[in-house]
Structures are given as structure tokens and as C-alpha cells.
């Protein structure tokens, strides 16, 4: 039962990552990230109960509170303020990006079998999904031009790392987890301000314009 819930939630995270790649509306992408974090919260809660590690409940609560509610709310507010709702044409079009992501997922899954824990069972899928999401996140960061999408990509990578940390290792010390959560908020806040500055300066969220030295 526990294994099934874990696998389904991990697969759900992968599906949301995929939909994010196929998505140009920023609001939907942010909501998808919220759903992805909710799945992560469920993973943490499930493990907390099945392996009786109550400290993971705090992690789950923090994840849901920050990444499902607070960060999406903040990012939506940023978008509302700026008034830019859609991703401009990315460097690679959607079908091509999806193909690349399928390839990346296969690579991620294949690599996961190289870990001693990753040959079979739940941890195989958890590591596979996490590595795939990590690669997809990096890919999104490289190919998208909007600063907001890049923040979402960074957060996806963060979720992927968290999935491995929670699901496969015996967990991080509580202080470290608090520190990471705090780090994530700060990063998003700073990036939000940065987005404002970019839009002020260039009247667009297109980060490819940053390479122009003269405005």
C-alpha cells in the first residue's frame, strides 16, 4: 500500500513536470508546480507514517505550506503586478522539448539503476523520477526565456532533490531541512525582486535580452 502511494505520487510529480514543459500559460505552470509540491508533501507524509519518522511530518507541512501555497501565491502576485501572462516562444518548440524530455527521462531512469538502492522496487522509481525531474528542470531552465519559468524550473530541480532526500536516504537533520526551506523562500523572494528589476529595465521578462549591454 505504502509503496503504491509513493510510486503514484512520484509518477504524479513526473506528469506535472511534463505538463509544465508542454505549457505556455504562466499561471497554469505555477499551479502545476503547486500540485507537484503537494505530491511531494504526500510522499513525505506517507513515509512519516510508514516508517514512523514523525519529524518528516514537519517537513511535509513545511513543503505544502511553502511550495503549494506561499510560493505559488507570491509568483502569481508578481505576474499580476507585471501583467505578462504567457511564455514567449521558447528556444525550442514544445514538441521538440517534449521529445528531449522523453530522452532525458529515459536517461534518468537508466542511471537510477546504477545506484545500489535503485535496482528495483520503490526506490528505483523514486530515484528514476527524481533524476528525470532534475534533468527536465535543468532543461527548462536552459530553453525558456521567461524569468518566472526559470524560477519554476529551479524549484522543480529543488523538488527533485527533496524527493530523493525524503524517499531514499534516511533523511536530513531537522536543522538542515529548516535551512533549506528558508533558503527556498529567500531565493524565490530575491528572484521575484530580480524579475521586477528585469521588467523595469527591459520592459520584458525575456532574459535573453540581458546579454545586450546597451539598452
Amino acid at each position: 500500500m505504502t509503496a503504491n502511494v509513493l510510486i503514484l505520487c512520484a509518477a504524479g510529480m513526473l506528469v506535472t513536470a511534463y505538463l509544465m514543459v508542454g505549457q505556455k500559460a504562466l499561471f497554469t505552470a505555477i499551479r502545476l508546480f503547486g500540485v507537484q509540491s503537494l505530491f511531494l508533501g504526500i510522499v513525505a507524509t506517507t513515509i512519516a507514517f510508514s516508517e514512523s519518522r514523525p519529524e518528516l511530518l514537519v517537513t511535509a507541512a513545511l513543503t505544502v505550506l511553502l511550495k503549494t501555497i506561499l510560493i505559488p501565491w507570491f509568483l502569481m502576485r508578481v505576474i499580476d503586478r507585471i501583467g505578462i501572462h504567457r511564455e514567449i516562444e521558447p528556444f525550442l518548440n514544445v514538441p521538440a522539448s517534449l521529445l528531449v524530455c522523453v530522452g532525458l527521462t529515459v536517461v534518468g531512469y537508466r542511471v537510477s539503476t546504477g545506484f545500489p538502492e535503485g535496482t528495483r522496487g520503490v526506490s528505483h522509481h523514486l530515484i528514476g523520477v527524481a533524476l528525470s525531474m532534475l534533468l527536465i528542470g535543468l532543461f527548462l531552465m536552459v530553453t525558456r526565456k521567461k524569468a518566472i519559468t526559470q524560477i519554476l524550473a529551479l524549484l522543480t530541480v529543488e523538488n527533485a532533490v527533496f524527493l530523493v532526500a525524503v524517499g531514499v536516504t534516511s533523511g536530513m537533520p531537522f536543522v538542515v531541512e529548516l535551512g533549506i526551506s528558508f533558503d527556498v523562500i529567500l531565493a524565490v523572494l530575491i528572484l521575484g525582486i530580480l524579475v521586477h528589476r528585469i521588467v523595469d529595465r527591459f520592459e520584458s521578462m525575456d532574459v535573453s535580452r540581458l546579454s545586450k549591454l546597451k539598452g
Partner: protein, 313 residues
């Protein structure tokens, strides 16, 4: 004895699906209306519409050939034939000896082909435009549908839907990540194939956006009734397929009355849940621009391809 059983199964299942299909359409319309604070049509509206259309005399263009007349009939027949390959209440399809997934996809393609050629037949620009749009989407959706079905077939080791469902019931769901990926991909395909909102809007006849409606714009009377009824049966069949492959709970494995009753209730409940999901998707999304539709379908193609690939890793 066995042949009598097959015949009874075919008749009962087909009749049941034909009877339930208009109800599903109205149910989705009604739920959508409720979400918009409207009352929606009465529950029997689907039957009233069909009765009204069937009573009218068919009006056909002077230049229309037999292709135009055959179109709706083949489409309807293909939709009904496809349902006999899908297990609904019992964990066996009535005509499963005839074929499995490939026959199902092929039959549906035959119906689509008949309707598209019929739409071009009169030479009106609307029909041709609708047909070309429908085919554009179908060309992408069909491989995705096949790959999605293959993912489940791979788990059960059979392309036959009856055997597949029996395997699933015997071993329980496999709980592999590819199940969820395939489900997400197939759900998008179902939305695209049944002409629901992010892809097509079933409620309007706005010339710039319509796909399916443009194709059948010229039909009237009994011809139109066949097209609409066929489309409704197809929609119900797709939802049943999703329920069969991913939540095979409650499906009857014996022919005892209790098992059958449980099967009917479980099937109705699963269809209701899926209908709610379709309604929510329809209400929460805006229709995509036509040239963005291939992007959406390619997302589902990516998902099902990945689902298939992960099975081997």
C-alpha cells in the same frame, strides 16, 4: 450455449451503451451548466433531441453522392462495433474473439474516414475544412491512443481487451509509474477525440473554431441523429476504456446476478467520476487556438511514449 451467450452479450451491451450515451452527454452539459450557475437541460433532453431528429425527413444536397449518405451510417456502425470489443460490466468483451486493441483503433479510424470523406463529398468549404482539421488532430491522436493502450497491454501480456482486463483483475493494478503517465496521456486523447473544450467546443457553431461540428454541418434529420448518437456512444466507450484499463475495480468476473449488479453500479460510478473530470477540464480551460492543439496532443504523445519506455527500464 457459448454462441447464445455471445449474442446475448452483444445485444445487451450494445443496447445498454446506446441507451446510456445520450444521458452521458446531457449529464456533462448539466454539470457544466451548474458550474456556471445555470440550470441546464432536463435529463431526457438527449433522447428528445434524437427523437426529434429521427422523425424529420433527411435533407440532402442535390450534388451529394452515395458517399455522403453512407458517411453517418458507417460512422455510427463503426462506433457501435467498437463498443463490442470493450469490456463494460463483465470482464469480457462480447466479441473479443474478433480482435483486440488494433481492431478497436482500426474500426474507429474507419468511422472517422467515412465521415471525413462524406464531409468533402458535397464540395462545400465548411465540410472540407472540418474534415481536414479533424484529420490533423486524429493523425496525432491515433498513435498516442495506440501507444497508451499498448502500455496497458504490455503489463497484461495481451492485446485483447477482454484478456487484458481479466489479467488486471486477477493480479490487481500493477502500480507502476507508467500507469499514471499513460492515464494522463490517454485522458488528453479522450478530450481531443471527443471534441471537448481545450480542443474543440461542442456547444458552438462558430465557423473559425469548430472542428467536428464543421464536418457534420450539412447533415440534417436522421443523418445528423446517427452522427450525434455515434459520437455520444464513442465518448462513452472511451470513458469506459479508461475505467477498464486503470481502475478495474468492481467489474464482474462471473455471470451471477449479484456480480452483474455490482458491475453495473461500479461502471456507472466510474463513468460518473470521469464525466466530472471531463466537465471540470471543460469549465476550467479556454479553447486552444487551432494551431496550438497539436502541441497539446504532442504532450500526450510524449506522456504515453514515456509510459511505454519506462516499462522496460
Amino acid at each position: 450455449m457459448h454462441q447464445a451467450l455471445v449474442a446475448a452479450g452483444v445485444v445487451l451491451q450494445t443496447a445498454g451503451l446506446l441507451a446510456a450515451a445520450p444521458l452521458l452527454k446531457v449529464a456533462i452539459k448539466k454539470m457544466k451548466a451548474r458550474l456556471q450557475n445555470r440550470q441546464g437541460p432536463p435529463w431526457a433532453q438527449g433522447y428528445f433531441d434524437l427523437a426529434k431528429l429521427l422523425r424529420k425527413e433527411p435533407v440532402r444536397s442535390d450534388v451529394a453522392s452515395w458517399v455522403y449518405v453512407a458517411g453517418p451510417r458507417v460512422y455510427f456502425a463503426a462506433a457501435v462495433a467498437a463498443t463490442t470489443l470493450v469490456p463494460v460490466v463483465v470482464a469480457a468483451a462480447p466479441l473479443e474473439a474478433a480482435g483486440g486493441i488494433l481492431l478497436l483503433v482500426g474500426t474507429l479510424a474507419l468511422g472517422r474516414f467515412a465521415l471525413a470523406t462524406a464531409a468533402i463529398d458535397t464540395g462545400s468549404p465548411f465540410g472540407g475544412m472540418g474534415a481536414s482539421r479533424d484529420m490533423t488532430i486524429a493523425a496525432l491522436a491515433e498513435p498516442a491512443l495506440m501507444l497508451g493502450l499498448f502500455t496497458s497491454a504490455l503489463a497484461a501480456g495481451s492485446l485483447n481487451l477482454g484478456v487484458l482486463v481479466r489479467e488486471l483483475v486477477a493480479h490487481g493494478p500493477s502500480f507502476h509509474p507508467s500507469d499514471l503517465l499513460a492515464f494522463a496521456g490517454l485522458f488528453i486523447i479522450v478530450i481531443a477525440e471527443t471534441g471537448r473544450i481545450p480542443v474543440d467546443n461542442p456547444a458552438t457553431h462558430l465557423e473559425l473554431t469548430m472542428i467536428h461540428e464543421a464536418m457534420v454541418l450539412e447533415y440534417a434529420g436522421p443523418d445528423l441523429a446517427l452522427v450525434e448518437w455515434g459520437a455520444a456512444v464513442k465518448e462513452l466507450m472511451y470513458l469506459t476504456l479508461l475505467a477498464d484499463l486503470f481502475v478495474p475495480i468492481g467489474i464482474a468476473t462471473t455471470l451471477s446476478p449479484v456480480a452483474l449488479a455490482v458491475g453495473v453500479v461500479a461502471w456507472a460510478a466510474k463513468i460518473a467520476v470521469l464525466a466530472i473530470a471531463v466537465t471540470v477540464v471543460e469549465s476550467a480551460n479556454a479553447k486552444l487556438r487551432l494551431f496550438r492543439v497539436p502541441e497539446l496532443v504532442s504532450v500526450s504523445l510524449g506522456l504515453v511514449f514515456l509510459a511505454l519506455a519506462i516499462r522496460f527500464l
